[in-house]
Symmetry: C2
Subunit: 225 residues, 2 copies
DNA sequence: TCCTTGTTGTACCATTTGGTACATTGCGGA
DNA sequence: TCCGCAATGTACCAAATGGTACAACAAGGA
């Protein structure tokens, strides 16, 4: 994913291979972003330590401030990239050749799996909500990004109404919210809920069973009559 | 619930009445707990400032360390009290004289309203999950506390199956999880979701409409056939 | 070859922050 | 009335933490 060249975490031997500096620049930036995602997700904005991020990087703290002028900007960059990645995922799921019911099933399953597979993303969003959305407001382009998800559902609902499998009065935003809520909660509250009710969501079987319940819940929500 | 005596939220005039010290002691502790809940909820564990909590209090930082030996213990006390309060609420909702469908409707509505009315509680739980449940593990009594919620649902399901209104294969933990997820998400993701999809959940009408969708979703989830 | 410019490492600083030393006050029991 | 101890206020500290000064290095154009 990245040129590991002459950077390493340990006190480091002088220098080994050698690539052009220009090439490393972007790689360094990405390297920082990945480390930052992990650290912000683990500890929240305030809990995250810039020094810790630097240590996870193949470069130094100096570089963090070189590419992202301060901690807040770095956090913002992480937030933006996280949302862009989930959008990319959504558009990848191909549903057009499936029946409405099967398409919705597939979409829900994919969403549940995606969220479960990206706990860092979930935590970043949780953290942003603790901060009362103060940063996301600076990223207005996310609105158009996410409205794609609604369009997708709107079309799907229309198809479902046409073939008689869905009821008519479904608001796609509510539907999206139901899907999001059920798949988000699985991950977001994994620790407290898992502890209190003794469910280990890391277990693949537990995950699959829960996913089926979510699918069931959504299908029952949209089905006609 | 508490002796309101000479405590108030505003900067407050020097000192007014005068109660016995002993009496004030418990009040001071409660006063600190309330301030801490608010601050931890607003900023998360790391983001919360002990000095800020002290400022919100009618007493000094010294007292925080007197009653709770350090920041972590204070956080733990807040977490514990939050859970105990939500338990108290659940047992208060009386459902026995209602039909299963109406009882479930009432329970869901009450849950949605309760969570919406206690955003600080929601944030505390979010924060605890960001911390990967490291503190809740030290409060094993919460397990028995919350298992009451499951018992309630189990009985309700049995009644519903008896009178033919509910399907037979409902797992009460899954049902509880659905209810929790849908009502939790409303509050937990209020800022990001609200911003992206332009929904203001503080608006009573928006809240009521969403609540009805959640009830609908749950009822469809349990209904027979 | 040399100089400009983007990139990077080292060492350091000022402030913030959790936490404490120490003195003081006043209630309640003897 | 007086003393012991719970309760509290003031002032302070050491460590952690976000951020920076400054120098140096490398690559590419002149």
């Amino acid at each position: 994913m990245r040129d590991p060249d002459n950077f390493s975490d340990t006190p480091a031997p002088p220098a080994r291979k050698r690539t052009t500096r220009a090439k490393n620049a972007e790689a360094t930036r990405q390297n920082i972003l990945e480390a930052a995602l992990s650290e912000f997700a683990r500890s929240g904005f305030s809990g995250a330590r810039v020094d810790t991020i630097a240590d996870m990087t193949q470069t130094s703290k100096r570089m963090i401030y070189y590419y992202f002028s301060n901690k807040e900007e770095l956090y913002l960059a992480v937030l933006e990239e996280s949302y862009k990645k989930i959008r990319a995922f959504e558009t990848e799921v191909s549903l057009d050749e499936l029946s409405p019911v099967n398409a919705l099933r597939k979409l829900v399953e994919a969403t549940v799996d995606y969220q479960a597979g990206h706990p860092d993303f979930i935590r970043i969003i949780m953290n942003e909500n603790i901060l009362q959305g103060s940063n996301i407001e600076r990223l207005p382009e996310l609105r158009s990004v996410n409205s794609g998800a609604i369009d997708l559902l709107r079309r799907l609902c229309a198809r479902g109404v046409d073939d008689g499998s869905f009821r008519e009065d479904i608001n796609p935003v509510d539907l999206h919210m139901n899907i999001s809520a059920l798949s988000f909660f699985n991950v977001s509250n994994r620790y407290t809920f898992g502890f209190i009710f003794d469910r280990n969501f890391s277990d693949p079987e537990v995950h699959a069973a829960r996913r089926e319940q979510i699918v069931e819940s959504i299908l029952r929500y949209v089905r006609a009559a």
